[in-house]
């Protein structure tokens, strides 16, 4: 039995020949790959392979010295992170980057800042249009809270939450932006098995329910193999493999990179 014919989907983001170096240190050298609409794309590789640098290039924290990035069919030039946000790219961080002084609800509401636009005058009164806007967005945020099953912690300052829940709130904040492309940097780092299973379920549900394209970095190979549609493997800033999880797993370069080569 052959695998069912999969119609190739439209490319949402393509990275072509991107190089990034910090002084003499080459973080990424000449990497190209693409992310198609609606897929879950994993970026894996040993420590220091340039995975997080890649995400930082995609959402504008770093400007690559060489190469082009095309998002939604438009090649983009110099951009700042908030431009990426406006364009529909959301992101979570390897070590949680929540707004620690704010409640879970406020954190997720902050994710809607881009979509809220009532001016200072109404904000001062907190009445009329501003309140209407606040309530409308609150409704959306409550949907996300229900979706992530964090109802009981919505008023808790996030600094007091356990790590697993913090990661979930961070995912919620990213979802509040209604992104087209969601970048997850090690969403399961430091979690126990149960939390990993929950998080995997949420990632699949996000992909399924909101149709969000997801690019994730993850070290847990089991998770990567189960979740992702296609995997790109980086090592020392170079792309060494690209393909379906099964293909990548058999690739000799990948095995060498992870296990080392006998000299």
């Amino acid at each position: 039995m052959t695998a069912p014919e999969v119609k190739p989907r439209d490319v949402l983001l393509s990275v072509e020949n991107v190089s990034l170096s910090f002084g003499g240190v080459k973080a990424i050298s000449g990497v190209s790959f693409d992310i198609r609409k609606g897929e879950i794309r994993a970026i894996i590789g040993p420590n220091g392979a340039g995975k997080t640098s890649m995400l930082n290039v995609i959402n504008g924290f770093y400007q690559p010295q060489k190469g082009t990035i095309t998002f939604k069919g438009e090649p983009r030039t110099k951009m700042r992170p908030h431009d990426a946000a406006t364009g529909g790219i959301a992101r979570t961080f390897q070590n949680v980057a929540l707004f620690r002084g704010m409640s879970a609800l406020d954190n997720i509401m902050a994710g809607r800042s881009l979509k809220m636009n009532k001016n200072l005058f109404w904000q001062l009164l907190r009445y009329g249009p501003a309140m209407k806007e606040e309530v409308a967005h609150r409704r959306h945020v409550e949907d996300i809270i229900d979706f992530l099953k964090i109802q009981e912690i919505r008023r808790t300052p996030v600094a007091r939450l356990p790590y697993g829940l913090q990661k979930r709130v961070e995912l919620g904040r990213a979802l509040a932006m209604e992104p087209e492309l969601l970048l997850l940097d090690e969403p399961m780092a430091g979690m126990n098995l149960e939390e990993k299973e929950d998080m995997s379920r949420f990632i699949l549900d996000v992909n399924d329910h909101y149709g969000t394209t997801i690019a994730l970095i993850e070290h847990d190979m089991g998770v990567v193999m189960d979740l992702s549609d296609r995997v790109v493997v980086l090592d020392h800033g170079l792309k060494i493999a690209d393909g379906t999880p099964a293909e990548v797993m058999k690739n000799q370069n990948v095995i060498d990179a992870y296990l080392g080569v006998a000299h």
């Binding site: 959402n59 924290f61 700042r80 992170p81 908030h82 990426a84 946000a85 406006t86 959301a90 992101r91 961080f93 980057a97 929540l98 707004f99 620690r100 002084g101 704010m102 406020d106 509401m109 902050a110 994710g111 800042s113 881009l114 809220m116 009532k118 200072l120 904000q123 001062l124 009164l125 907190r126 501003a130 309140m131 806007e133 606040e134 309530v135 609150r138 409704r139 409550e142 904040r173 932006m177």
Partner: protein
């Protein structure tokens, strides 16, 4: 026992998002406002109003201004007194150029001048933060301080180099100058403070407040969710300086009556910063607590000394108050580094389950 929210169900997000979602809080606020607006003007002595309440309210307003910048947006500023001075001098110049326009309008408008200056000195905040920004605002403080003393145009070439507040009226009654009734001044100050506190509370509970706090807590992540750092920080500078400017104008016109530039020196900036830190960073009610503690405590202590009629020289009393207030501040900070506002919050939390905590 009486502070319970059981049985108060919120049926819409609008109700849930209210600033005071608990009924007892709303009753409490209404009561405080009633006492402040009706009971105090009718009963309090001129001494209490002029020496305690008016300064307390004005300093609270300045503390709210600094709290917006430092507590909510996380930008440490030492230029508070400078911005207050801009408000005061702007108000003075405006009312001497256009004496027919009501002074209340000029007090309000002078806030915009302070805003403009605040934004100008806030520009470096995109690149520098923390202590380095504090040093940059220190430059603002010293420059403005210098300008108030040296630029004699600001004091209308007054030989004493001070602002001498002319008499201005509101509703036909003198509001500023030597003939103004303390109750009347108090009511105007109170109206300013109540309205501006309400505006500030609306702001920090909404989108803009969340953006400020996002920038404070994690600016990288804030940028990532689409918040532009520079406009957000500059807005904080503008609004914060507006509050400080109005507070400065109120200070000179409705409290001091005449003021030398030295009122707006670095000591004043520090005093207000201490109020904000002790009251609680990122808390509006904390600004009132902080102002009350730092301004009110020495006066109350002096009052107590007089009450018992102890034969101590005024200088000793002064030193004794300094020591006690300093000690108390340290004590409060050890008990609760997050400020009096947190103590207040904890007390409310305890009260909810009192007297059966289990």
């Amino acid at each position: 026992m009486f502070y319970r929210e059981a049985g108060q169900f919120k049926t819409s997000y609008e109700v849930d998002a209210a600033v005071f979602p608990i009924r007892q809080d709303r009753i409490g606020i209404a009561l405080i406002l009633f006492i402040a607006f009706v009971v105090i003007p009718l009963t309090a002595t001129d001494f209490v109003i002029s020496v305690l309440l008016v300064p307390f309210l004005i300093l609270s307003l300045a503390a709210i201004g600094l709290n917006i910048l430092t507590g909510y947006t996380g930008l440490l500023s030492l230029g508070t007194a400078g911005f207050m001075g801009v408000g005061a001098f702007a108000c003075y110049k405006l009312t001497t150029y256009f004496p027919n326009v009501n002074i209340v309008i000029w007090i309000f408008v002078s806030g915009f001048f302070a805003s403009a200056v605040g934004v100008l000195f806030g520009l470096p905040s995109l690149r520098i933060k923390g202590f380095y920004l504090a040093v940059a605002t220190l430059a603002a403080q010293f420059f403005l301080d210098w300008a108030f003393i040296r630029v004699q145009w600001l004091t209308n070439y007054n030989t004493s180099g001070a602002i001498e507040v002319p008499t201005r009226t509101l509703f036909g009654m003198p509001l500023t100058g030597p003939n103004a009734a303390p109750e009347f001044r108090y009511l105007v100050v109170l109206s300013f403070v109540a309205a501006m506190t309400w505006f500030a509370s609306n702001l920090v509970h909404g989108r803009i407040g969340r953006m400020w706090m996002a920038v404070r807590d994690m600016d990288l992540a804030a940028e990532l969710i689409g918040i532009r750092l520079l406009p957000t920080k500059l807005l904080a500078f503008a609004i914060s300086s507006f509050y400080c400017g109005v507070a400065g104008a109120l200070m000179v016109f409705l409290w001091y009556g005449s003021a030398e530039p030295a009122v707006f020196n670095i000591d004043q900036s520090f005093t207000i910063l201490f109020m904000v830190i002790i009251g609680g960073l990122g808390s509006l009610i904390g600004s009132f607590f902080g102002a009350g503690l730092i301004y009110g405590l020495p006066i109350i202590m002096r009052f107590i000394v007089n009450l018992f009629g102890w034969q101590i020289t005024p200088a000793t009393v002064e030193h004794f108050t300094f020591m006690t207030v300093g000690g108390l501040i340290i004590l409060f900070l050890i008990i609760e580094p997050a400020g009096l506002a947190r103590l207040w919050q904890i007390a409310k939390q305890k009260l909810r389950v009192w007297p059966f905590p289990y």
